[in-house]
């Protein structure tokens, strides 16, 4: 049988082992549907001689869920296609459920999305107790909902209150947790144990029925208006809104479908689920999330931006120069990934303090049960604080993370290269300074590269790799692997002032400050940014980053502009102007206890009333303009980066914008923002903004053409 093995055991139990040909995982697509049809036809034909059915997988995982390419194809096919696809899938699962013989899902590995839905249509679920297996409903993250009965069956099995967090949060549970939540019924220690338990269950349950098929069944906890549920029901929508700001509709719609499913019979509930799938499928958000957060992210994981032809190598030992905020964070991430770390600073006290930072983080992780004491000691043992440059001599990679100062960094590079073995890569962690300029200090610029880490390093899962003029492809390939080795997402950009992420993000702050200077109410500015999906407003962000720091970086850039005949610093001149003004008022930001905000003793904060005195705050401006000035400013700047080949793939720009500075995921990132809206509509809006507020909103002339060209880099749709 194609794509599945059908084996009848002695005693009449059939074992179906799903094994989709030529694929690493079993995913639900048309071929999967055909396979189920074939299996079901044979089962139904042989029903009289069958005593039970065991469904398992021939892969390491059980079933990984819907085929994302299929879902993307459905978005092109229209609502009817989407509805028909899930209705057909539902019908097949319903045949399993009503087969009249016990059917046991033997979950040998991860069961996600559609895989879990298949298991829920079985009468009993046994999972191998492997902590690495994941069981859950990740659909919400792709903007859709479990539509093969997952919402309906989970609610009917567990009750609304237990089901909702599983469905709306997309959490992936280890088998132990899935057992505790009630998603699986039994755990097994091995494949053999799992099959033995399945056989035993079949033997003792010759004619099981789903709970909702039993007469007198009622949903645990009652319907959505039951007294036990209404307290929670009255706050769930706002809890979701607080997280999504109404920009990611899936969670909200899953909540609505799960709730409504309690008001109606099983079949009607299934219909509502399918209709809502079709509705969500057709929202641009779903396509944005699938393209960027799934497919483009997978491309990055697969190394699409990594030069081909270089063998994967692991970094065994890394040297870090400077044990400040960035250096110590990088040390922690490296040590956690099993890399030996030499952490060098000028004084041993500073180097030791850098290591102590890891100890603090690990203590917290141990307290929360995320790491064991043994893990902690092993990780700490990998970090060697030192003041001796010679200790770095046998490192595979050295990352300098000293203060953002050209002569200082150049000096350090010269100093460290003198002791290094040949072939060691020297990386500079900077958010501002041109890599090619720093590379002048290197005896071997081919081995020199920029690695822009984000603060706090342990929480920010992205590293911007900056290729200097001389950086070799091999060096890029090696640091790409290093970034993945420390479990972060690499994006690759070319050396240009501000690189990609800093350049795009700094105009967000700049535009917020321009709005303030224009006299717009600061509360409106902050709320408009958040309504657009930014995690914090532009004023709050400057308070967090500290305006004295921003001002310093501006001054550095201005000096560099003079040296290089450049004008980069002008892109955030108003930000610098306001930072200077605020610093002069003694309000450099949160760290100084005061900035655009007043910081209250109870940990609260409120906008500093002085802002309205200084800037007015009563200028009437269309709310959409306030919002779009901030968003379009970033997107246009990103478009310029694409035009100038600072980024060469939309993928790296999309993922970079989302992970590095919280550009809203619903949009799919800075470039998908344009595609989702339509290039013409985007250009028209830019023109309106440019004529009202200035040429900074004019995208590069060849944008449409450039996007069309890079369209080839977009994922082809293979249904």
């Amino acid at each position: 049988m194609e794509n599945a093995n059908y084996e009848t055991l002695e005693g009449g139990t059939v074992v179906i082992t799903i094994d989709m040909a030529g694929a690493p995982l079993n995913v639900m697509n048309d071929a999967f549907g055909d396979m189920l049809d074939t299996v079901l036809a044979r089962l139904e034909a042989e029903r009289d001689s069958i005593t039970g059915v065991i469904i398992t997988s021939g892969k390491a995982s059980f079933v990984a869920g819907g085929d994302v390419n299929k879902i993307l194809a459905l978005t092109q096919g229209g609502a009817e296609a989407g509805f028909a696809f899930v209705q057909a899938l539902k019908a097949r699962l319903r045949r399993i459920e009503s087969f009249g013989r016990p059917v046991v899902a033997s979950i040998n590995g991860s069961a996600l999305g559609g895989g879990l839905e298949l298991a829920l249509a079985c009468h009993h679920r046994i999972a191998i107790d492997d902590a690495k297996s994941q069981i859950g409903f990740p659909e919400v993250g792709l903007g859709i909902l479990p539509a093969a009965g997952g919402v309906v069956r989970t609610v009917r099995m567990l009750g609304l209150m237990k089901a909702l967090p599983l469905l709306t949060e997309g959490r992936r549970l280890a088998p132990q947790d899935a057992l505790q939540q009630g998603l699986v019924d039994e755990l097994a220690s091995s494949r053999e144990d799992m099959l033995a338990k399945a056989k035993a269950w079949i033997a003792t349950n010759p004619s099981p029925r789903q709970p909702w098929e039993v007469k007198g069944y009622s949903i645990p906890g009652g319907n959505m208006f039951a007294p036990e549920n209404i307290g929670a029901m009255s706050v769930f929508p706002s809890m979701i809104f607080k997280k999504t700001r109404g920009l990611l509709p899936a969670a909200e719609r899953i909540l609505a479908v799960a709730s409504e499913s309690t008001q109606v019979g099983f079949d009607a509930a299934m219909l509502i689920e399918s209709r809502t799938f079709a509705e969500l499928l057709m929202t641009p958000v779903t396509e944005n999330l699938i393209r960027t957060m799934f497919l483009q992210m997978n491309e990055i994981t697969a190394g699409e931006s990594r030069p081909k032809g270089f063998e994967k190598q692991k970094v065994r030992k890394v040297g870090i120069l400077g044990a400040g905020m960035m250096g110590r964070g990088i040390a922690y991430s490296c040590a956690c990934a099993g890399i030996d770390v030499v952490l060098k600073d000028i004084s041993l006290v500073s180097a030791e303090a850098g290591k102590a930072y890891s100890r603090d983080l690990l203590d917290k992780a141990v307290k929360r049960g995320r790491k064991t004491k043994e893990d902690r000691e092993a990780i700490l043992a990998r970090i060697q604080p030192t003041i001796l440059m010679e200790d770095l001599s046998d490192c595979d990679l050295v990352i300098e993370a000293v203060f953002e100062d050209v002569p200082l960094k150049k000096g350090i590079v010269r100093e460290v290269e003198a002791v290094l073995k040949t072939g060691t890569i020297v990386a500079t962690n900077t958010s501002t300074l041109p890599i090619s300029l720093l590379a002048e200090a290197s005896a071997n610029p081919t081995n020199f590269v920029g690695l822009h880490f984000f603060s706090p390093v342990d929480k920010m899962h992205i590293v911007e790799i900056i290729c200097g003029k001389g950086t070799s492809e091999e060096t890029l390939a090696r640091v790409y692997n290093f970034v993945q080795q420390i479990k972060k997402t690499p994006i690759v950009v070319h050396d240009s002032r501000g690189f990609f992420t800093s350049r795009v993000f700094s105009v967000f702050a700049d535009e917020g400050d321009r709005l303030l200077k224009d006299g717009v109410d600061p509360a409106i500015i902050e709320n408009a940014a958040r309504d657009a999906g930014m995690p914090v407003g532009p004023l709050a962000v400057q308070d967090e980053v500290m305006m004295d720091m921003l001002l310093r970086s501006y001054k550095t850039n201005r000096v560099l502009d003079q040296e290089l005949g450049d004008s980069y610093s002008e892109t955030y001149a108003v930000c610098a102007e306001l930072c200077e003004l605020m610093c002069d008022c003694g309000r450099a930001g949160r760290g100084a206890g005061a900035g655009f905000y007043d910081y209250l003793p109870d940990d609260g904060k409120q906008l500093w009333p002085g802002l309205t005195e200084m800037f007015g705050g009563d200028k009437a401006m269309d709310y959409a303009d306030v919002r779009d000035r901030m968003m379009y400013r970033m997107v246009v700047e990103a478009a310029r980066c694409l035009q100038e080949n600072v980024v060469t793939s939309e993928r790296d720009g999309n993922i970079g914008s989302i992970l590095a500075f919280g550009f809203p995921s619903y949009s799919g990132g800075v470039f998908q923002f344009i595609r989702s809206m339509g290039i013409d509509a985007f250009l028209a809006r830019c023109e309106t903004l440019a004529s009202a507020y200035g040429q900074r909103f004019s995208p590069p002339e060849e944008l449409a053409e450039r996007l069309a060209r890079s369209n080839t880099a977009l994922i082809a749709i293979n249904p």
């Binding site: 209404i230 706002s238 809104f241 109404g246 909200e252 609505a256 709730s259 109410d521 509360a523 309504d531």
Partner: protein, 401 residues
Amino acid sequence: MTSAYVFDAIRTPRGKGKHDGSLHSVKPVRLIADLLQALERRNRLDTARVEDVILGCGSPVGEQGAAIGKTAALLAGWDDSVAGCQIDRFCGSGLEAVNMAAARVMSGMEDLIVAGGVESMSRVPMGAGGGALFFDPEVMAKANFVSQGVSADLIATLGGYSREDVDGFALRSQQKASAAQRQGRFDGSLIAVRDASGQIVLDRDEFVKPKTTMETLAGLKPSFAKLGEMGMDAVAIAKYPQTLSIRHVHTAGNSSGVVDGASAVLIGSEAAGRDLGLVPRARISAMAIVSTEPTIMLTGPGPAVRKLLAKSGLSIDDIDLFEVNEAFASVVLRFLDDLHVPEEKVNVNGGAIALGHPIGATGGMLIGTIIDELERQNLQRGVCTLCIGGGMGIATLVERV
């Protein structure tokens, strides 16, 4: 057009709406049936002349469900010819009943109707009636629905009302209500609730707290900060981006009390009154219903009264007294700001913060309270108004005859 007159307006005392409240042991249909019997007794009423009993009820389910107007008429032993229904306009239900009754009389189609309401909040708690507006995630998302308490706090935030402002208003409500009780100002319209053997169950509003001070009020915790933190603040701010945070000033002390009670207003034409020997006490001259932005929800009274005045050709200064339901202190403060009404004209005998707000019954109670007070002070015109869920506002103009 026929005029609609109020011949009588009575109410039960308001019992604390909890399990230890005095009226918790009395079923809602009994509360309202007893009031009907009192109307019959006080007015020597031939009940066969009453054409309909329209009752407001905010949670018209369970023992309050199923056309409780008709049910109460049956329990009261009224003539079989008396029809009955119930209506739900949330907090505006009782006043809506009065307005509907008056409008039907004014239209000439009917001559004598009982309007009012009943709500046993201790027995049929808020939310018991379900409702898509309060619990359906799709509707709630669409309407940026938040708890009324968060709406009240939003009104305070936008209006700049401090905790002291709302507590000060609450204190005055308590002081005015206590004084009114001491002076017996409610006695004429308040019908004691008795058990089957005739013993008194409750004969005075029991929610009033005469010992209230600014200090006791200041000691109460904000009631809606947690809901706000759970996301409702974010939902509200999405509609009101001019604020970054919501000031949670409302507590159990400056919000309306949860109570049990019922009200009944006898409304009819001049001809019906003449036939039955009933003396008109006031005329219902105008009525208004409006709806405003649903997230802030509780700002309806100002626009409702403006519409009422426009319809009746009166100015705000022509109105001698106002009853503005004290759903929350900020609702009344906002009303005062919206219409520039001096506080001295408003809720002179206290309001729902001190006395309680039996949702569907309140509107009928306000009619009785304002007519009693117009008579006591020998004044001419009064306006009753309430804020209502979903953003609505309702108002009624009564004039002494």
